[in-house]
Amino acid sequence: MNVQRGVELVVGLFVLAGIAALMVMALQWSNFGSSRVAGYEVTARFDNVGGLTVKSPVKLAGLTIGRVDSIEIHAETFQAEVRMVIDDQYDNLPTDSFANIYTSGLLGSQYVEISPGGALESLEDGDRITMTQSAIILESMVSKFLFDKAKE
């Protein structure tokens, strides 16, 4: 094995290692692919989504079971229509489940919490959760509180 061939081999390994490093970070460690979880889509309409954004988690009993896929204005009701993708693993959520928007911590990011109902049928791809509760807006809560106080 001559020197030139040794250099070629080492350079080949170097290039492979560099590309592998990039690929590991881009494909394995990042959320590549996981942002579109294999799952089924459910929509819910909220009067106010507050700080909810695309990719916010959807949680059940505090555990992440899906992601928010898109948020749009529904043209007729002027509500925000939130489309969520929920992992196929959790395909037995009752149809009368409740969707709330909560905040993690006092100032943390917002997420959708699903509270399961009691119906026997379960939610399927394309279904809509009809019972929702909007994000709590701190200002409106404070002003309501002050308004009530003033009335007394």
């Binding site: 250099v7 970070m25 990042s30 996981s34």
Partner: protein, 262 residues
């Protein structure tokens, strides 16, 4: 009165010098661009340069990456534990490395380790009239000497930056999870949840590609225009390191503002 005029004239001269420097570098870049593709007709030359610039820089890059990761892990742990948020250590270390420190620090180290060597080599070839001799033999030095060195640096920098970030993230894991006792699955889980393949890893790769091009151009240019004397060579290598470092940091700000800003 005269003293004031003189100092104003000196200011004007340095501005003109700078402009001339930039202009001749731009002309050089155009001249170089013409030979970049034809250089690939001799891939062996490029391979040799990837070896000299890239493979031989591996040790310093990997060791530095490991230490930067260790330090980030320690400092991040101290700060995050104030907010009871040490689970976010992984994503903090990973994002700072992938977006900023990987490309920038790897580029700075590369400029010092390999950029200066390229400049010195070309400047010495010029000083000992090897470049002129090549031209006498109807061999284009642009194609045979400068092109391959440009490509060697340009190819090496993004690869080195990626390895730097990878080793750094592992270093952060070592200090955070193994030594300080952060939960290992939340270290990786947070990275997995919040690092974007395109925006973060891809953005970092684009940055380091741009840094590679800038360092490569400055290194070969400074070598070519070096005064053919011992002190001229010394000045040229210094100039390479200073200019590349400033260019990398300045360009980094501009690219960050475009890619991650607002």
């Amino acid at each position: 009165m005269n003293a004031v005029l003189n100092s104003i004239a000196r200011l004007g001269r340095s501005v003109l010098d700078g402009a001339q420097h930039a202009g001749s570098m731009a002309l050089f870049a155009i001249e170089l661009a013409w030979v970049l593709i034809p250089t690939w007709s001799r891939p062996r030359d490029i391979l040799q340069q990837v070896y000299a610039a890239g493979v031989l820089s591996l040790v310093i890059i990997l060791v530095a990456g490991g230490f930067v990761g260790l330090v980030l892990g320690l400092q991040g742990y101290n700060i995050l534990s104030n907010f009871n948020a040490t689970e976010s250590l992984g994503v903090m270390v990973a994002l700072s490395l992938v977006r900023e420190l990987g490309p920038v620090v790897a580029a700075l180290l590369f400029a010092g380790r390999a950029g200066s060597a390229i400049t010195a080599e070309i400047a010495l070839m010029k000083t000992t009239e090897q470049l002129a001799a090549l031209e006498m033999m109807a061999v284009d030095p642009m194609r045979r000497v400068i092109g391959p060195r440009f490509w060697g640096a340009m190819i090496s920098v993004p690869l080195l930056a990626a390895m730097f970030s990878l080793v750094g993230i592992v270093g952060g894991y070592l200090i955070g999870v193994v030594v300080l006792g952060v939960d290992g699955s939340s270290y990786w889980g947070q990275i997995h949840e919040q690092m974007e393949a395109w925006d973060d890893v891809g953005g970092g790769a684009i940055k380091s590609l741009a840094f590679g091009a800038v360092i490569a151009l400055i290194s070969v240019y400074e070598g070519c225009r070096a005064e053919p004397t011992a002190s001229g060579m010394a000045r040229a290598t210094t100039q390479t390191v200073v200019l590349s470092s400033l260019a990398v940091l300045g360009l980094d700000f501009v690219m960050t503002a475009f890619m991650f800003g607002a």
